[in-house]
Amino acid sequence: MKYAYYPGCSLSSTGVEYDISTKKVAESLGIELWEIPEWNCCGASSAHLTDHLLALALPARNLAIAEEKGLDVAIPCAACYARCKATEVEVKDSKEMQKTISEVIERQYTGKAQARALLDVFVNDLGLQSISTLVNKPLKDLKVVSYYGCLLVRPPRLGFDDAEDPQSMDKLIEALGGTPVDWAFKTECCGAAHATTKSEVGFPMIEKILTAAKEAGADCIATACPLCMSNLDMRQTQVGAKYGKNYSLPVFYFTELMGIALGLNPEELGISKHFVDALGIVKKLNEAAGRRDTA
């Protein structure tokens, strides 16, 4: 299995551990990721609010490079995925748009190279069956709420999962030996850049999600988006302080949880880079496993 890989800007900065864990996990699972050379920013989440054509053209360049190579593109970041998918679909739907975009990016893109969410690739191309056979440190008794965020499964006609009650990440957690916890905020929006630009709007949105996860009885949150991650993880203490709450909810990229279950070193997966301590819970998991082994 081989895919073009589009990490996106966040994965080389705030979401560096998403990049690290993705690459490690893909390697362990035998998926070859060919990082698009000299990839550019997809424009999320500013370009589409400024100019529609620019919003389509920026992702199109990356897709065009993948198309030349004959590969579909695996995209970890939900926002990048959404922008790339939108481009792919508009190009496929309209020959005229295809022509315009190819002229703007000065490359050919016909919509043949598809934008694929990394989660989709793992769950639907590789398959849960194959993943679960490779699990050697199951996430036993770890209660995880899956937070898909707003962009991963929308709009419904393009999605690889149900837009209202998606299941793929939950099923993945289950395949990793963890306990998926159902909750109602799987696709509620975390406010994206609002936490940075307008915290009085962004913080209440984050608060709602963290509270819901806590109330659902989760030990931690799994996510597929670097912006969601920074809102839920980096901002967690800040938001907690504002609302007088202590959530202590570690947030993981789903790839990190996969890495842990596949027996990779948590440090090497980048888990120490989180703001809310996540290593502790991993340690507990390993200790419990150790006790089970000796017992």
Binding site: E164, D165, A184
Partner: protein, 660 residues
């Protein structure tokens, strides 16, 4: 030698003001076949008609052209006229020189006259090829079939039976009663549904002219108006209806419990069961899917305890064929599947239910003995939220149409919540409140005013569980503010949709259905209970969402149509139908799928070829079904099919005449 008479009408000055009628009549004399031509002030008036009749006799005319108004106006008049003059009615053609000529070309008499002459020329050319056609008759079988034993079917059957005709009612379920039996109270009077339905069920069951055929389905329909041959599959009941007394011992003793469909799976029934206590016939059936005996061969308790030995495990489905003169489709509706609304969590959250579930919760013989209780924990809900238009008026996930009944039954539900639960709140999320019906708006007004239900204009976007509450997010669009309600129970006013197998039945009988699989009436205004297939009528929600009074009214209307048909011994058929030239037809069957009335099938004929008898297939037009559209004639490459009165020869002659 054919002798055509041409009669040009002035229509007072309606025609003659713009067309030189005398000249047209004069011109006509030179057309091939014309033996006589004249003009007159009013052809349709008595003296005009006499003029025609007289000319037929005196001039020995054998076919007539009347150049006057539109045939849509006076063709019947002139057909009668020449008939009484001794000619076959179909030896008439009309040239429309009024609507299509004088009235639209008032200022150019010369060219209007040329045009009128052309139109007459075409009519003459056509009439030269006309043939005498005879209206035939088909016998009518005096027996009606009603498909579906809900309130619409029951009403139709009763009305037909009371008029003295025999009716068979075929019902798929073990009992008649349909959806209305599941309903607790009816709007706008709040009288109990069972109290008004069950007497009708008894009436229909006891009526000497009615045969109830329950637990049965239509297997095949052949034939046409007056003569439908219908095969009915009587599903194996596993209980001998004659021997069973309906004592119910078997039901009591049956060890297998399964969720009751009638109770919306909120309560159990046995594997041998009647759907509800007032079922008719009140004799059980065995649900073989869940019965222990049928699954494992062990058990047989019901058979052992039956005092009359009525339980018969060896029963098999039985096919019976009967001939009917008319059919009423009254197959009812299904509920939309609300689980497509992931955002509402129907199917995931136990206390998010449909209106029909709620009916059963209200019902004294339902799962909660008439107390409104939550399915999840049996608690009495304080805050009940109703959401309207779930599946209706929703192009994205549901149906584009309005389900018509939900506004009223939701008002009823909200009223009953407020009436039955002390200190309760009933919130209704709506987009519009549609109450056109006698006493309906008054009922709705009482719901808000007297009963204090709170109506919030807006569609709900999300429901989720928080503890034992259901959080409902909506917008109060009148305030322009997002709102949230902590509810104990949410009731979805679910769309009415066509039965899952609606299309199958329509295809079997041969009538049409719309994009939502509701049956299509012949005309939305003027033929609302007829279908395009003669002898097949519609009643109730199978034609579109309807409430009880409307279903009953439509059922009675359908019954009148049936009675009208059955009151005759035979009915005349229009002779303008397609005919097959058997010598030419190669039996390719291209005509079969283009016929909208399934009037064409292929039949096998025998013929002698080189001293051998061979058989071959040819098209066969059913004169009872053919309506004379001519679609088949164009599908037939070799022109083996031809439409009488509009034959290929006639149309070609008209085309040629136009250019002579």
């Amino acid at each position: 030698m054919k002798r055509v008479g041409v009669f040009v009408c002035h229509c007072g000055t309606n025609i003659s003001a713009a067309v030189d009628c005398e000249k047209v009549a004069e011109n006509a004399k030179s057309f091939p076949g014309v033996a006589y031509s004249t003009d007159y002030k009013y052809m349709c008036a008595e003296p005009g008609q006499e003029l025609i009749k007289k000319a037929i006799k005196e001039q020995k005319l054998d076919r007539i052209v009347v150049a006057s108004c539109s045939p849509r106006m006076h063709e019947p008049t002139f057909r009668r006229c020449i008939e009484s003059g001794g000619l076959n009615a179909y030896l008439l053609e009309m040239a429309n020189i009024r609507e299509h000529c004088s009235w639209v070309h008032p200022d150019d008499k010369e060219r209007a006259t040329i045009k009128a002459t052309d139109l007459v020329k075409m009519a003459v050319a056509k009439v030269m090829q006309n043939e005498a056609l005879v209206r035939s008759t088909i016998p009518i079988t005096k027996r009606a079939l009603v498909i579906g034993g809900g309130i619409a079917g029951i009403q139709a059957a009763l009305d037909i039976a009371n008029a003295g005709h025999i009716v068979d009612v075929v019902e798929k379920e073990p009992s008649i009663g349909g959806r209305m039996a599941q309903v607790d109270k009816t709007f706008p009077t709040l009288d109990c549904s069972a109290c008004i339905l069950t007497p009708k069920m008894v009436d229909v069951a006891n009526h000497p002219n009615v045969n109830l055929i329950t637990y049965s389905e239509i297997e095949k329909v052949e034939g046409y108006v007056g003569n439908f041959d219908v095969t009915i599959r009587k599903k194996a009941r596993s209980v001998d209806l004659k021997a069973c007394t309906g004592c119910g011992t078997c039901i009591q003793k049956c060890p297998t419990k399964v969720p009751s469909e009638f109770e919306m799976e909120m309560m159990d029934r046995k594997a041998i069961f009647t759907p509800f206590p007032q079922a008719i016939p009140n004799k059980p059936v065995i649900d073989r899917e869940s019965c222990r005996y049928f699954k494992s061969g062990k058990c047989g308790v019901c058979q052992k305890v039956c005092p009359t030995n009525a339980v018969d495990f060896t029963q098999e489905d039985e096919l019976v064929t009967e001939r009917y003169g008319a059919i009423v489709a009254a197959t009812g509706f299904d509920l939309f599947d609300d689980s497509v609304y992931g955002e509402y969590g129907y199917g995931k959250y136990k206390d998010v239910i449909t209106g029909l579930h709620f009916e059963r919760l209200l019902n004294a013989s339902g799962p909660t003995m008439g107390k409104i209780k939550r399915p999840s924990d049996g608690k009495i809900p304080q805050n009940v939220v109703f959401i309207k238009c779930v599946g209706s008026r929703d192009e994205a996930k549901g149906k584009a149409y309005c389900s018509k009944t939900c506004c009223m039954y939701t008002a009823k539900h909200a009223t009953l919540v407020r009436e039955k639960i002390k200190d309760s709140n009933a919130y209704v999320f709506y987009m519009d409140v549609r109450t056109p019906g006698k006493g309906y708006d008054e009922f709705y007004t009482r719901t808000t005013d007297q009963y204090g239900a709170k109506y919030i204009r807006g569609r709900v976007s999300k429901i989720y569980e928080k503890g034992d509450k259901l959080i409902v997010w909506g917008e109060d669009t009148l305030l322009g503010r997002p709102v949230e309600i902590e509810a104990d129970m949410v009731v979805l006013a679910t769309a009415m949709v066509a039965k899952a197998d609606a299309a199958k039945l329509a295809q079997m009988v041969g009538f049409s259905y719309d994009q939502n699989n509701f049956y299509t009436e012949a005309h939305p205004k003027l033929a609302p209970v007829e279908t395009h297939t003669a002898g097949v009528f519609l009643a109730g929600a199978c034609q579109g969402p309807k409430d009880i009074p409307e279903s009953v009214a439509q059922a009675s209307a359908a019954a009148v149509k049936v009675c009208g048909l059955l009151s005759k011994e035979e009915m005349p058929t229009e002779p303008i139908i397609s005919a097959v030239n058997e010598a030419i037809c190669s039996g390719c069957g291209m005509c079969v799928p283009v016929c909208p009335y399934t009037a064409i099938d292929l039949k096998v004929i025998q013929e002698r070829v080189h001293g051998k008898t061979v058989s071959r297939k040819i098209a066969n037009v059913n004169s009872g079904l053919c309506q004379g559209c001519g679609a088949c004639t164009v599908a037939c490459r070799s022109a083996a099919l031809n439409l009488k009165h509009f034959t290929n020869e006639q149309i070609l002659a008209e085309v040629d005449a136009l250019c002579l």
